[in-house]
C-alpha cells in the first residue's frame, strides 16, 4: 500500500526565519521522489513536517488526501529513516527491526517471523541476533530500512541515509534502495544534497533553495530544461554566459555577451524580451570541438588553461576573451593531443542544447 503525499502551501518558520516557504508539491503513491538542495536549504525541515515532528507554521500536509494537522509522528502512516540512522544500540538487530511490532503488542513468535522475513528482504538472513555495532555501515543502513518497513508504512521518508557511506557502498546502496522500493512498492520520499544520487534513483525530483522549491519534474526534464539559474548550476554542471537579449526568433533568443553573440533556447514559462539581462547556459558535455563539416549554431573562442583527467572524460578549463571561465568535457576515446595549455581553439554548441534564463543568482556563487 502506498499513499499520495501533498504539501499545500507549507511554510515552517523558526522565529522570523523561514526554513521552508510556500512549498507546494504532490508526490504520487508508489513514486520515488527526491528533494534535492544544498545544505541548510530546509530539506530535513520539510521531511519533519511530513513525518509529524514539526507542525508547519502555515499550510497543510495531506497524506492520501487526509489532513495531518495535529496527528503525531506515531500516528502517521509514515516511517522516517534518520540522517544518522538512529538504530537502537542496546537491542539486537531483530529487536530493532521488530520494535514497531513490539510497540503494537504483537506476540514474540509473530515478531520473530516478521523480523526474519525482513532480514531476508535486506539480505541479512540469520544475522538477527547480532548487535548493531557488529554490523558494517551498509548493513546498518539496510537494518534501518527494514526497521522502517516493519511498520508497513505507506510512505518511507529517507533523510540523506547514504551520506555517511563511502563512495562505492553509496553507489551500491542506490541500486539496492531502488530495488527495495520496487519490491515493496510504497512511496519513497528521499532527501539529498547529492544530485547524482537524486538523478539516478528518483522518478521525479524537487530542487530546493533557501526554503523554496525552484523546480519539480522528471530527472531529465530538470537536467535539460532548468527553470532557474540556480537549478541550472546545482543540478549537473553548467557554464553561464552573461549578457543581454538582442533578438527573439520563435523559442530561441539571441544573447549579446562580452565575448560575442549566441543563440539559445528559451523556456516556455520564462519568456524573455529584448534588452533583458539574462544568462545562457551550456553544459561541459554540450561543447564540442568542431570537425570538418560540423556546423554549430554557436561558436566560441577559448584559450585553454588547464586539463584534468577523470577516467571516462577529459575535462578542459579555458578562459574567454573577457576573462570568463568555461569548462568542457571530451570523452576519453577522442584524441585531444592537439589541445595544449595556452592554445586557442574554437568550440561549437547547438542552440537546442543551451538554455537562456532571466538573470538570477547561481548555485555556485
Amino acid at each position: 500500500m502506498s499513499a499520495d503525499v501533498e504539501l499545500s502551501d507549507v511554510s515552517v518558520t523558526f522565529g522570523s526565519f523561514y526554513a521552508a516557504k510556500n512549498v507546494n508539491v504532490k508526490v504520487n503513491g508508489g513514486e520515488f521522489f527526491s528533494f534535492l538542495g544544498p545544505s541548510g536549504c530546509g530539506k530535513t525541515t520539510l521531511l519533519r513536517a511530513i513525518s509529524g515532528f514539526q507542525e508547519p507554521s502555515e499550510g497543510k500536509v495531506l497524506i492520501d488526501n487526509k489532513d495531518m494537522s495535529g496527528i503525531g509522528p506515531n500516528k502517521r502512516p509514515t516511517a522516517l529513516i534518520f540522517q544518522n540512522l538512529a538504530l537502537f544500540p542496546l537491542m539486537s538487530v531483530s529487536e530493532n527491526i521488530a520494535f514497531s511490532l513490539e510497540v503494537r503488542g504483537v506476540s514474540k513468535e509473530e515478531r520473530k517471523k516478521r523480523a526474519d522475513e525482513l532480514l531476508e528482504l535486506i539480505a541479512l538472513e540469520g544475522q538477527g541476533d547480532k548487535k548493531v555495532h557488529q554490523l558494517s555501515g551498509g548493513q546498518k543502513q539496510r537494518v534501518a530500512i527494514a526497521r522502517a518497513l516493519a511498520v508497513e508504512p505507506k510512505v518511507l521518508l529517507l533523510d540523506e541515509p547514504l551520506s555517511a557511506l563511502d563512495l562505492k557502498l553509496r553507489q551500491r546502496m542506490r541500486t539496492e534502495l531502488r530495488e527495495i522500493q520496487k519490491r515493496v512498492n510504497i512511496t519513497f520520499i528521499y532527501i539529498t544534497h547529492d544530485q547524482g544520487e537524486a538523478l539516478t534513483m528518483s522518478d521525479r525530483i524537487a530542487v530546493m533553495n533557501e526554503g523554496e522549491l525552484e523546480q519539480i519534474g522528471k530527472c531529465d526534464e530538470v537536467y535539460n530544461n532548468p527553470l532557474t539559474p540556480f537549478v541550472a548550476t546545482f543540478v549537473g554542471e553548467n557554464n553561464p554566459l552573461y549578457g543581454k537579449v538582442t533578438g527573439i526568433e520563435g523559442d530561441k533568443a539571441k544573447i549579446e555577451t562580452a565575448d560575442g553573440q549566441y543563440l539559445a533556447t528559451m523556456n516556455e514559462s520564462k519568456k524573455l524580451n529584448i534588452g533583458d539581462e539574462s544568462i545562457a547556459f551550456v553544459r561541459p558535455e554540450s561543447l564540442f570541438i568542431p570537425r570538418d563539416g560540423d556546423n554549430f549554431d554557436n561558436k566560441i573562442n577559448v584559450n585553454i588553461e588547464s586539463f584534468e583527467f577523470e577516467g571516462n572524460l577529459k575535462n578542459f578549463y579555458a578562459s574567454l576573451k573577457s576573462g570568463a571561465k568555461i569548462k568542457f568535457s571530451v570523452p576519453n576515446a577522442i584524441d585531444t593531443s592537439f589541445i595544449t595549455s595556452g592554445s586557442s581553439i574554437v568550440l561549437g554548441f547547438e542552440s537546442s542544447k543551451s538554455v537562456i534564463l532571466p538573470k538570477a543568482s547561481l548555485a555556485i556563487d
Binding site: 509522528p73 538512529a86 520494535f99
Partner: protein, 309 residues
C-alpha cells in the same frame, strides 16, 4: 625497576613530575586515608574495650563480643536477640532504600526535562538553581527543614493560620521531616549522574522510537532508561551509601524516639566511650550496605564497570 616504571605509557604521556605526583597522591590517599584507618577499625572491632593504659595487658584480647552484642544483645539481657539495634539497623537500610527510590523517581523526570526538552538557557538556569541551595552546608539545610517542619514551624503555623487545620501535623514525630531531609540531602548525587547519562542519548533515538509508533512510556522504558542505566546505578549507589551513613540530618530531624544507625555508632564512640563496639557497628554497616548494593546490581544485571562509564 626504575627503568621499567618510567617507560610505562602513563609516565610517557604525563611526564615524570606529574606522573610521580599522581602516584604519590594516590598511594597516600589509599594507604593513609583508606587502608590504615579501616584496618585499625577492623582490628579494634575484634578487641575488648579497655582503657588505653590497659592495652596490651591481660584484659586486651581478641573477641567477637561486639558483633554478638549487635545480634544477641548484652549478656544480661532477657531477649533472645538485640531487637533494638537490629530494628534500628533494618529500618535504616529499608528507609535508605525507599529514599533512594524516591530520589530516583523525583530526579528522573527533571533530569530528562533538563537534558532533552528544555532549551539550553532554561536548562542552564535550572542546573544553577539546583546547585545553589547546596552551597549551604548539610547541617544548616537540616535546621532549615526543622524550622519548616517543627510543631510550631512555618508549615504548621501557615496551615493553622489560614484555618485549613485546627492542629498542626506532627511532622517531626512521624519522621516526615527526617524522610524529607534525607531525600533532599543527597539529591544532587542522583541528579547529575542521571542528567549526564540522559544527556548523552541521541535525540534521534527518542524520535525514531516515536516514529515507530512507541508511546512515550515505552520510549522511556525501552530506550531512555536502558541507555541511562549506568547513570541510574551510580546515582542510586551513591545516594544509598550516603543515606545509610547520614548523621547530621537524622540528628537534627529524627523524632526523639527513633534512631538512625549512624547515630547509634556515634553513641558508642562518643557517649559510651566504647570505640571497639562503635568500630564493630561501623564495619557491620559498611559490609551489609556493600553486599546490599552488590545484590541489587546483580538483580538489575549491572556490572561494576558500567557505573564508571
Amino acid at each position: 625497576m626504575n627503568n621499567f616504571l618510567f617507560t610505562q605509557p602513563f609516565f610517557k604521556k604525563n611526564g615524570k613530575a606529574v606522573a610521580i605526583y599522581f602516584l604519590v597522591a594516590i598511594i597516600f590517599w589509599f594507604v593513609f586515608l583508606v587502608i590504615i584507618p579501616q584496618f585499625y577499625m577492623l582490628d579494634l572491632s575484634f578487641r575488648t574495650n579497655v582503657p588505653p593504659l590497659a592495652r596490651g595487658g591481660p584484659e586486651d584480647y581478641y573477641t567477637f563480643e561486639h558483633y554478638s552484642h549487635f545480634i544477641f544483645g548484652s549478656k544480661t539481657a532477657t531477649d533472645a536477640f538485640n531487637f533494638v539495634d537490629l530494628g534500628v539497623f533494618g529500618r535504616t537500610i529499608f528507609v535508605s532504600m525507599l529514599v533512594t527510590i524516591a530520589n530516583l523517581l523525583f530526579c528522573y523526570p527533571i533530569a530528562f526535562y533538563i537534558a532533552k526538552i528544555a532549551n539550553p538557557s532554561t536548562a542552564r538556569l535550572l542546573i544553577v538553581s539546583l546547585i545553589i541551595p547546596f552551597w549551604i552546608n548539610e547541617l544548616l539545610r537540616s535546621f532549615a527543614l526543622r524550622i519548616l517542619f517543627a510543631n510550631e514551624g512555618v508549615i504548621n503555623n501557615f496551615l493553622t493560620g489560614v484555618g485549613l487545620l485546627d492542629q498542626g501535623i506532627l511532622f517531626i514525630t512521624y519522621d516526615i521531616g527526617l524522610y524529607t531531609g534525607l531525600i533532599y540531602a543527597y539529591i544532587l548525587l542522583m541528579m547529575f549522574p542521571l542528567y549526564n547519562a540522559i544527556e548523552s542519548l541521541d535525540i534521534n533515538q527518542i524520535e525514531a522510537a516515536k516514529d515507530l509508533g512507541s508511546s512515550s512510556f515505552r520510549t522511556h522504558w525501552r530506550i531512555v532508561i536502558p541507555h541511562a542505566k549506568p547513570g541510574i546505578v551510580s546515582g542510586c549507589t551513591m545516594v544509598f551509601m550516603l543515606t545509610v551513613g547520614a548523621l547530621a540530618t537524622p540528628v537534627v530531624l529524627s523524632s526523639p524516639n527513633t534512631l538512625w544507625f549512624p547515630q547509634l555508632i556515634y553513641q558508642w564512640f562518643n557517649m559510651n566511650d566504647n570505640w571497639s563496639r562503635g568500630s564493630a557497628y561501623s564495619i557491620i554497616l559498611l559490609i551489609v550496605s556493600v553486599i546490599f548494593v552488590l545484590t541489587m546490581m546483580r538483580i538489575f544485571k549491572v556490572r561494576i564497570g558500567e557505573i564508571i562509564k
